[in-house]
Symmetry: C2
Subunit: 401 residues, 2 copies
């Protein structure tokens, strides 16, 4: 085990320096290929390369390719019939799902696919994972917390529903990171915190009974953390590179893979608290119950070099009854800014957009983009601490240890 | 076995119709994304989408994802410890190599990577395949033909050299298809003939001792043949789509994968005779021993709507001694057209380009592009017949059966 851990860390360090060194070489290639965008929140916008996440993810993938034999080193000297082929199959299927998601992410970055593709693509990529889970492990039993056991028994076998749950988790993870984005360094920053939290959790659990699953998760996530850290170096404020959908999909799929094959998908979701909040908070706009502008990025003020909350402005009559109710509730609990006004005799409403980023700006007022990113990353760290408290504190109350 | 064959054919038929139906939907998306090119050999050149091979390959990959459980259906009712996890690992690693090659092919199409990447990328993609070959099979012994056995023995274990050989085969297969291209339908056409030949070979060998390896190859290649056939529908003369490097890489990697994991890599190379000839013939220009123009496509004559051989024109003094010798030899055996002339008092040489396409045009004169493609596909079919003769006729003389 220590050999695997050491080698994993060693591989990751090499991957970190390689990514740090190689990324700038691709700037020109990306811009020449038309894969570039302009940062709207800068005093002097310059075109910077987009979708560079594909480079860091590729380096991570190649590192993992080279790592494939390592977990099996001590088996080479043993009898071939004792070789843990099911572990090898798990590892290759995990990499297959990740690689497929990267392929589809890159296709999305290049081709600008439609919304419905964003639901179909992760499902497709998760297929090999779910199929291999089915043929190798196929444990779909969920342990019931003790207060419910008199009704439901000790465990419920969810059967096919468990696969639906895992598929939905993959769709959620990939998209949750993608929609909680838009300011320099946030996509990578949040992924770094989540990855570090899971790694810490894995390290704690290495002394437990399921250490093999946590070791597996560790050696997948270590190079992910390393290459993403190098990417963060270029993506943090002021961004010299954008990471693209490829990175968000890649990160989401990597987390799903370790959650599913490491058998800690519920704990993993605890590390996604800000993403879950942002996703639920966004739903009224995503489903167009409240009018949703094309972009919901913070608004940049060139004079003060700060960002402020962005607004959605629409005619009052456009709002449905349900939309109006949601707006009232959200206003009451202080989640959104709402102002009514009339122009040319018509009643208008302006409300702040339904994202966590804009909520922070509503609560604390305009701030520098760098401050905003680091505040959100701090929030992510705080919620990881909460997650650990829930996992090791509260859970003991409901499940015997 | 018959269930697997039937399901494989059924899946492939569905994949064929799906590809045929979906491909036109992407035309606009590709052109909007700037992935389009102009066909130089047409009277009225129009921009047509490029790199559409990524769609057909993705459908093929998804079909294979869904097919993963099929070969293991009869194991589900048996004891879990008898489950052939090593076969599952082979299948997922095969798909991983193919998927990774597609990812890198798409990256190449979008980013226009450099020449050296074209050697590195296939090697990287082949890694999971070679690693899994190493941990599961690791047979590196080559059987020696009997005339050499008194010297070399019955078999030689090549050890690491065998892995170098497999890696080189992957690099060769992916690039050989890519450089034997440039006229409508040739990339896909040649791949179809090779795939059909290997499928026929697999069907013959299904009755032999290694039927499992050939069944494996069959169910990987059947959806490949189906989706490529649908792609050919749009890529044949007059092309409404270009297939891109993605397709060439994808095809080459698929062939390598079945050759390596099906343990018939030498037989497979027999189906690549035109590609091997074209590659060796191209070497003097690829290594710049003879000056190589930027493009070596046939020259289009708008008046006659035919294509003719393209020429490389250069000053005589630019040619090295070695280049001069090669040119003399090639001219003597009739492989190239060479003419010397002088302009402004300087001696110039014009020679036809060193590709199989141009050689056909030299031998048979200018012809319509459609005729040229079908001639080359016929040549591919003829050489497959020769390959079968060598495999089942000549080989018996050197190896006892």
């Amino acid at each position: 085990m220590f050999l695997i851990l050491t080698l994993s860390i060693l591989f990751s360090i090499v991957a970190y320096y390689l990514t740090l060194r190689l990324l700038p070489n691709f700037t020109k290639i990306f811009i020449d290929a038309g894969l570039s965008g302009v940062d709207q929140c800068k005093p002097n916008p310059q075109p910077i390369p987009e979708a560079t996440g594909v480079i860091s993810s590729s380096i991570c993938l190649i590192t993992l390719f080279l790592f494939i034999p390592v977990p099996f080193l001590h088996h080479f000297s043993q009898e071939p019939q004792n070789f843990p082929n099911h572990e090898l199959a798990s590892l290759t299927s995990a990499l297959l799902s990740i690689c497929c998601m990267m392929l589809l992410g890159l296709a999305d970055d290049v081709l600008n696919l439609r919304w419905r593709h964003k639901l179909v693509l992760p499902t497709v990529s998760a297929l090999p994972l779910l199929v291999v889970y089915y043929v190798t492990y196929n444990n779909t039993t969920v342990i019931v917390p003790w207060p419910l056991r008199p009704i439901l028994g000790h465990g419920i076998s969810l059967g096919p529903l468990y696969y639906v749950y895992m598929g939905m988790m993959v769709v959620f993870c990939t998209n949750a990171i993608n929609i909680y984005a838009g300011i320099n360094g946030l996509e990578v920053g949040q992924s770094l915190v989540i990855a570090a939290s899971i790694l810490l959790f894995n390290l704690i659990e290495l002394s437990g009974g399921c250490w093999q699953a946590h070791l597996f998760s560790f050696y997948i996530l270590a190079p992910f953390l390393a290459t993403s850290l190098a990417l963060f170096h270029y993506n943090r404020y002021p961004a010299r590179m954008f990471v693209g959908d490829t990175f968000c999909y890649f990160a989401g799929m990597t987390f799903s893979v370790v959650g599913i094959l490491g058998h800690f998908s519920k704990t993993m979701m605890l590390f996604f608290l800000p993403q879950i909040f942002n996703f639920v908070f966004s739903l009224p706009q995503l489903f167009h119950l409240v009018p949703c502008p094309r972009h919901r990025l913070p608004r940049y003020s060139k004079e003060k070099d700060t960002v402020d909350m962005s607004l959605s402005i629409f005619k009052k009559q456009e709002l449905s009854e349900l939309g109006s109710l949601i707006l009232r509730i959200f206003r009451t609990v202080g989640l959104v800014h709402v102002k009514e006004f009339s122009k040319d005799g018509e009643a208008y409403i302006e409300c702040s957009n339904f994202t966590l980023i804009v909520l922070i700006l509503k609560l604390f007022g305009p701030m520098h983009e760098r401050t905003l990113t680091y505040s959100l990353i701090l929030l992510q760290i705080a919620s990881s601490c909460l997650a650990f408290f829930i996992r090791y504190g509260l859970v003991r109350i409901f499940y015997e240890v």
